[in-house]
Amino acid sequence: MRTLYERIGGAASITIVVDELYDRLTCDPRVSHHFDPARLTAQKAGQCAWLATAFGSPHSEPATDLRQAHRHLEISDEQVTAVLGHLEAALGVAEVDDELRRQAMSLITRLWYARVF
């Protein structure tokens, strides 16, 4: 079976998703204060790499550890919902169809909660 990565449209789509996601995150007062503007580009690159790996890109590097990446942050439930919502919207902007979007969100939500399992 083809990986989510392929079905979503590979690196090109992921770049679109991440650009859109960060545009949204930096405008949303619920979460924007977490994101340091000086480091946005690097974070976006990291985010691209992480998503590519999570979706099963065949030659990705070992992924960033989610728990490690957020260790220093105080994140509320509301903020998690907000970020997940933006991600879902961003997938929509990249024209990922409904079923794929559901699968992608289901996977990412699981990985998010599993980080501290």
Binding site: M1, A12, A42, A45, P58, R110
Partner: protein, 871 residues
Amino acid sequence: MQHCVFVDGLIGRESEFAAIGSALRRADLTGVVLIGDAGVGKSHLLGATLRHADLMGFSSSAITGTRALADIPLAAFASMLPSRLAGDASDLVQIRKALQHRAGGRPIVLGIDDAHLLDDASATLAHQMAGDLTAFVVATIRSGEIPPEAVTSLLKDGLAVRIQIDAFNRVDLTSFAESTLGGSISAGIEQDLWDRTLGNPLFIRELLLQARATGALALRHDRYELVQPFASPDTLVDLIDSRLAGLSVAHHRAAALVAVGGPLEIDLLEQLVDPDALVQLEDARVLAADEVDETLMVRFVHPVYADATRRRLGRLAARQLLRELATTLAASPKRRPEDILRIATWRLDAGVEAEPALLMQAARLATGRNDHALAERLAGLAFDTEPSLRAATMIANSLVEQGRHGEAHTLLRDERINHGDASDGDRFRWAMIEASVSFWGLGSATDALRVIDDFQSEFPAATNHAVAFRGSIAAACGQPIQALAQVPVGSAAATTPLGLFTVITSLTSLGRPVLALQTVGTLPDNDRAAAGAITRVCYAFTMIDAGRVDEALALGVEGWERAVRIGDVHGRVAWSIAIGWAELNFGRRAAASRWFCDAAELARHSAASNHGVRWALGGGLLASILAGDLDAARRLRDQLDELPAHDAVMYAHMEWRGRAWLQAADEGLEFAIASLLVRIAETKARGDLAPWLFLILDVARLGRPELAVELLGDGEFDVDGALLPTIVRLLHATARRDAEDTAAASDELQLAGFRVLAAEGAAWAWAMSRENGDDARVVTMYSRRAQDMRDQIESYATPAFTGGPPEVSLSRREREIAMLVAHGHSSREVADELIIGVRTVESHLARVYAKLGVRSRVELAEVFGLAGATS
């Protein structure tokens, strides 16, 4: 979770629990399967996992497989629906909805306890929900049980990993015991516990709690000590006795009958014990009944109880019970033909003589059920009373099936055998087994041919099968021309099972897979005969050579599942090898490795014959080395070195090639080429063309395309199908450095399902076009193609890949910079972003350009598929 009887917490199961957590964090998995013996605590671990998941923000749901509901579609999920099952496809949708509704956006963990008892529809639904990421599945399976295919395929598809739950070791046992009691225990108790329970958590717990309740275990100075010995030499006897306490002699008798006889028909039992006693035992949760093939069968609720009851039963009492069972069943009006097997076995165990005819009949039934050890025993007893050739042949067959070829070989020459009253059929079977043992079992074509010669000189009439046998040996030894001379297409011998095998194998090795498939047409669907079943495997191998990899995969999985279902170990192993070979070419080397390993392990444990072990290990070797896993490859090569030789080489090219690739890594290219050249000469001399071509292909893949073309020679050779001619084309195109033709060949390979080779071809085409100084746009096009094709396969460590694409050759920093530049950032911006100097950025960038063969930022963006980003 019906037999979840343990205390809370995870004492002694920390590492297994951690393994579940790691799986949950792996994006490529959507489940785990916990496998272990009865009473080992799988359900408990599952329960603890689900509780913890709920705490951590997941939404957990649990279903349980039960014997009683195993035949009712979706029964396991029924409780999740507000209304009753509709019995149609809408149920699937409703169940899914119910789960998702309940989760309300939280990730779902679906627990399946006793998944081996799940009904097929529930198993399929669970598999689907794991596959489309709806739920993460945590399933438990009892060791040795065969779960529904959908559950097995979670593992086979790589969606889930298995986590073995073993009995506790000494250290875990102590902490488990202490947490059960809530206090520490003395070393003496620990030893005693170990001796009695061997670490089975259920045993431990029941033993401890009972001992504490009876006062045998007392708390003294903060530590539990044994004030009386644990009640009896066998804990579980006590356990059962305590369950049975207050019940009558009739109850004991009923339990004992089930213990010695295995699950028993209710009719049979009711003739021997008071039906009320059975009802009471069911109430006491000692016995349970479920429907099997429309008959109500009575068994213990837990296998542990059967074991314990058997152990407490005296030898004489057991014999007496068996005798009663045998007599009653034999006299039963409802007796079915297959009951002969149980009657004979019970009589034997009861020490009652049985006549040879009955024993032989039972032995045949046992063979039909793939219980070869039992067949050996039954036929052995028949032989002792009457050493007929037929009995000897039956024993030999059972021995062969158990991989004990040496013993079979000796037995077939036993002087006691009475050849006198053997029929021609008996003699024929005897000779065929002898020949099969010599060749397939012991690996000697010469010995096998001698047996056939002797037989033929005695029975010149019965030759078709013998002729086919000779042909099959030549075919398996990679001598297609000789084989077909003996078994010409269309001859009578060619229609026998081994004749079919000969024809398909020979035409395939001649490089004519399409002709082979046409010639045999559709295969007879014959499960029972080894030769018939194995020919289907060969058929799948032929499809692969014909460039129909996806079809071969489908056929393979179907065949494998069937082999598993009917307990055909040989078929299962052979299918695994075929599937592994297909997957390896298809670009899923991890799955390929799993199939090969599975095959090798099973083959080693099931039979001493090493042709299958060799091919499985050879495939594993090739898969490991192509994955760049040198350690695994070396290990497999060493294992291969230890195997005795075998004349059958039909799938040995994987081993030869794997060895050569490993040599290239360990000793240098020249050594690898030299070994390949030896095999190339051998295969050519035999006319074994398909392997010959694969070997030559590897000469090119390893970096010597010109030599490869030289080896092909000028002579025309006739190969057919979507694969072999394309390989020839690819070889010529690469040697000419013709990017366009190489790419065209690669496209065809892609269609043939040889996606790894296709991706390598695409990578070559890209490299050539770069070297040839093609226009940047052309290079870019090739680069996109190469990367697209690579994206479709797992990573393979062959020179075509390790030399080219950016994913491999760019360092982390280089890629970071390339990515930023491709996104349209100036060097200055990149430098600021990464807090490094502009000159450092520029020098990294220069290296990136050189590696990717691009000359500008625009081209760089194109390589990353970001055309337009820089404007």
